[in-house]
Symmetry: C2
Subunit: 159 residues, 2 copies
Amino acid sequence: MTLPARPFVAPLVLYFEDYPPGRVFELGDIDVDPIEVQAFAQRFDPQPFHIDAAAAAQSAYGGIIASGWHTASLAMRLLTETFLSPDSSLGSPGIDELRWLLPVRPGDRLSGRASILSARRSQSQPDRGIAITLIELRNQHGATVLTMKAVNLLRCRPA
Amino acid sequence: MTLPARPFVAPLVLYFEDYPPGRVFELGDIDVDPIEVQAFAQRFDPQPFHIDAAAAAQSAYGGIIASGWHTASLAMRLLTETFLSPDSSLGSPGIDELRWLLPVRPGDRLSGRASILSARRSQSQPDRGIAITLIELRNQHGATVLTMKAVNLLRCRPA
């Protein structure tokens, strides 16, 4: 799979305390690379409307669309650049209500936003907390293409 | 990204009527390729416990683990081979309760199962139905590493 060039983004320094409910993070933009759309789908989601231009044109989508897992993975890339910090990110137990609302097409440009819905300190492990965040991706026309609620385990700021 | 070799699997011919509640599909196996783990994470999820062996060894995971989005994408590959049919698969509006239950490590071998939870004919578009399916991935030790509930739009069998 080609790895589209992407400028280096310095890692953030953030801790659980930096994710209060209501805080909104703008996640920046990422391009939907046509070659990557094809390569991702060939490997992980080789359905005709992802990999076969003629079949896709005849489908309800009217042309090739990106695998929803590719779109979600692009959202993850934005999250690692402008939302999660290597100093505090401990991983995620899961995602709720992942929604693919509109097709994402090769050449689209997606921008993201993360809004903290809730945050609570862990009772069993007081060095960390759990944040639930609404993630939204919009395309270059301003239409929301993906939403999901992510659960993140986050280390607290050292005493 | 390297594309690990995978034998060709003939497309299934299935329609909405073939997905009744209670039917279970065994999805087969797929290897977690170490080079792909690294390449996927470098592009989409470059957190230290996915890409940096030394940092991962010091983390709670004790070594490199695959991005959860990579694991979900491997599940999708199995679904395209042994569950979804190009004759009926119309895409998915989303996923509920995606859970990463245990770490997935380079070299693991994952096997999948899809169990139909519900299936209903669309009222607005009678040529299709909506199935909700529990997807489970287990590792080579029999431990469940991922579960999710997938919503699929499926074309009905032609009259």
